[in-house]
């Protein structure tokens, strides 16, 4: 089921323009090119799935938007305002607006503090209410994620993994943010628990009109939660489309390889997987990016041009962007994204 999204007149919330994040290595002049020219837009109320394998740069992209890293180049615009700096230089009010739910609730909740103390931190930092009002708000937050209110006296280790992640979600929502980054929020959990968390996230998104940047390696999950999906490979987005379009008509060979690799549980799903490609090779190190298209060493359809020239992002159909030489010829418009 796709979630209904309310379109507001001025619906742009976040825009990322040609974002780059390089990390220095021990060798001088050699960089880890974790994020290497990423652009996308996020509308209010949207759920954008940023999908990729480890080393694709999806998490670095998210953390740079969050301000954990300073961008090397490019721009991050939030509600039209340039926020391309690190956390230290961001105004406090902005930190209220952008929040995150981390991957593993086992490590994202301080084991020496009670749930109440943990939820109280963002409230105290942003001076929300009096002490008593904050206590009210903590109880409210727990109710919001359908946890018993007396959980505020418990320590994280005393509750289950799924419940911990609910607490992490409540913490992210404590300051009424407009953008929430979800960094693989269910990949450390069992599927039966994942289902509960995802349902809760989707319910909150609808009710509180939240916008999600959903980082994930799981395309099956994205099929069910995202309004749009961007597939990342080696620091770049290689394909981006609305969810139904991407899954019905995956165009980039890497997207096809990803889809074909997913183990599924029914014949109906089996039928949707691309058949003409099988997974080979491994993602290269972002220190040693191959010339031309980053995917060409693993691509069964590579041509001579692929190792020579980097393909540009093209809009092959309305709202469906692909970065691949194979799809370059004969496509009208040659429209580069943004």
């Amino acid at each position: 089921m796709r979630l209904g999204v309310k379109r507001l007149p001025d619906d742009g919330l976040l825009e990322v323009r040609d974002l780059k994040k390089y990390f220095p290595t021990k060798r001088k002049g050699v960089f880890v090119r974790a994020v290497d020219g990423v652009s996308f837009r996020l509308k209010r109320g949207e759920v954008l799935g940023l999908v990729g394998e480890s080393g694709s740069g999806k998490s670095t992209t998210a953390y740079t938007i969050l301000g954990v890293y300073e961008p090397t180049a490019g721009q991050i615009l939030f509600k039209g305002q340039d926020i391309s700096t690190g956390l230290a230089r961001r105004p406090l009010a902005l930190k209220k607006e952008i929040q995150i739910v981390f991957q593993d609730p086992g490590t994202s909740l301080n084991p020496s503090r009670t749930i109440g103390q943990i939820l109280g931190v963002p409230l105290a930092v942003h001076r929300i209410g009096t002490r008593a009002e904050r206590q009210q708000r903590i109880a409210e937050l727990l109710r919001l994620v359908e946890l018993p209110v007396d959980f505020m006296y418990k320590y994280p280790r005393a509750i289950g993994g799924g419940e911990r992640q609910m607490v992490a979600i409540a913490r992210a929502l404590a300051t009424n943010p407009s953008l929430v980054v979800l960094d693989e929020p269910t990949s450390a959990l069992d599927v039966s628990v994942q289902a509960k968390i995802i349902n809760m996230l989707m319910k909150l998104q609808r009710e509180l009109h939240l916008t999600y940047l959903f980082i994930s390696h799981d395309l099956s999950l994205m099929r069910n939660v995202a309004t749009r999906v961007a597939v990342m490979y080696l620091g770049k987005i290689c394909e981006e489309a609305s969810t139904p379009e991407l899954f019905a008509n995956p165009l980039h060979p890497y997207t096809q390889m990803l889809l074909s690799s997913i183990p599924v549980v029914s014949k109906a799903e089996e039928a949707t997987k691309p058949k003409r490609i099988r997974s080979t090779g491994e993602i290269p190190s972002p220190v040693d990016v191959p010339p031309g298209c980053g995917f060409h060493p693993r691509c069964p359809f590579r041509t001579e041009a692929c190792s020579r020239e980097e393909p540009a992002m093209r809009e092959v159909e309305e709202g469906h962007f692909v970065r691949c030489h194979l799809l370059g010829a004969g496509v009208p418009g040659d429209g580069q994204i943004h």
């Binding site: 969050l66 954990v68 952008i98 991957q103 593993d104 301080n110 931190v121 930092v125 942003h126 913490r171």
Partner: protein, 289 residues
């Protein structure tokens, strides 16, 4: 109701982990005994007046007997009474040193660990390294030699050589805790440095600090005894274990009880605190999943 049950549960679990090693229990019993003896010294000791400037040449140099459990020294003082009184100085030394050194060293380590990669870190840690390069006993000796020999001054000297161990320990912990996601979560929420240092990071460094403290009591006593052995601690006539060993050493081997019993007392103290420390370490260790 529920709270007291929970506490009983927690205490029960802690005791279970602590007592799985029988030696920890032995250590605990000995430590409690030592502390009680030191506190109640004037009451439990047969000749409390012997702990001062007391002379009884008629009963000098007597071997251990019913009346004088550990024998008497050259002034005719009961060595047992003096040994028990000497526990006081040893414990004051250990407590004084740790109460000073633990907060100070931990704070520096915490700051250095949190600000890793900065000049502040480099500054704190290089100074720490310099102090760590010098053996504590030698450094304390050198400092003591410059000051008037009193218990307080020897404590100061040990403090100077002891804080870097805590800085190192907490530094290592803080460095790793710093990169935990819950610290990042606090930063993303906009929490202050003080909050992150003292509320998020420090509580997660406490277990190793407590363990090291328990183990250190013994070592500080040993260093203190070392200082008083060369005459740089508590001054006569107040009894100090180290002084008693060194004074008695002159009369070895025939008046062996003069130094052997205080020496055994040092050994027992150090051993008891180390056994207790091991138990505390087991108790604070996170359960394996």
């Amino acid at each position: 109701m529920a709270d007291s049950a929970k506490w009983r549960e927690r205490l029960g679990r802690a005791w279970y982990k602590f007592s799985r090693n029988r030696l920890s229990v032995v250590g605990l019993v000995l430590v409690v005994g030592i502390i009680l003896l030191a506190l109640l010294a004037p009451v439990v000791v047969p000749y409390p007046e012997h702990a001062g400037a007391f002379v009884d040449y008629a009963n000098a140099n007597l071997p251990p007997s019913r009346t004088y459990l550990f024998g008497t020294d050259v002034f005719g003082r009961d060595i047992f009474s003096r040994t028990i009184f000497a526990f006081r100085g040893a414990l004051i030394m250990a407590i004084g040193v740790l109460v000073t050194v633990v907060p100070l060293g931990s704070f520096l380590g915490l700051v250095a660990g949190y600000f890793k990669g900065t000049r502040l870190e480099a500054f704190i840690m290089r100074i720490t390294d310099v102090f760590l390069a010098l053996p504590p006993l030698i450094l304390a000796l050198a400092i003591c030699a410059m000051l008037r020999p009193t218990l307080f001054n020897s404590m100061m000297a040990v403090c100077v050589s002891w804080w870097p161990w805590y800085t190192r320990l907490v530094y290592g912990m803080a460095r790793s805790v710093r990169s935990e996601f819950y610290v990042l979560a606090a930063e993303v929420a906009g929490a202050s440095k003080a909050h992150i240092l003292f509320r998020e990071i420090l509580p997660n460094c406490m277990a190793p600090i407590f363990t090291k403290m328990a183990l250190d009591v013994g070592w500080v006593i040993l260093v203190g005894a070392g200082l008083s052995f060369v005459g740089l601690g508590e001054q006569p006539p107040t009894p100090a274990l180290g002084t008693m060993v060194s004074d008695g050493a002159k009369y070895l081997p025939h008046l062996w009880w003069n130094s052997v019993f205080p020496a055994i007392a040092i050994m027992v103290m150090v051993l008891s605190f180390n056994l207790l420390g091991d138990g505390i370490r087991d108790m604070l260790a996170r359960e394996e999943a």
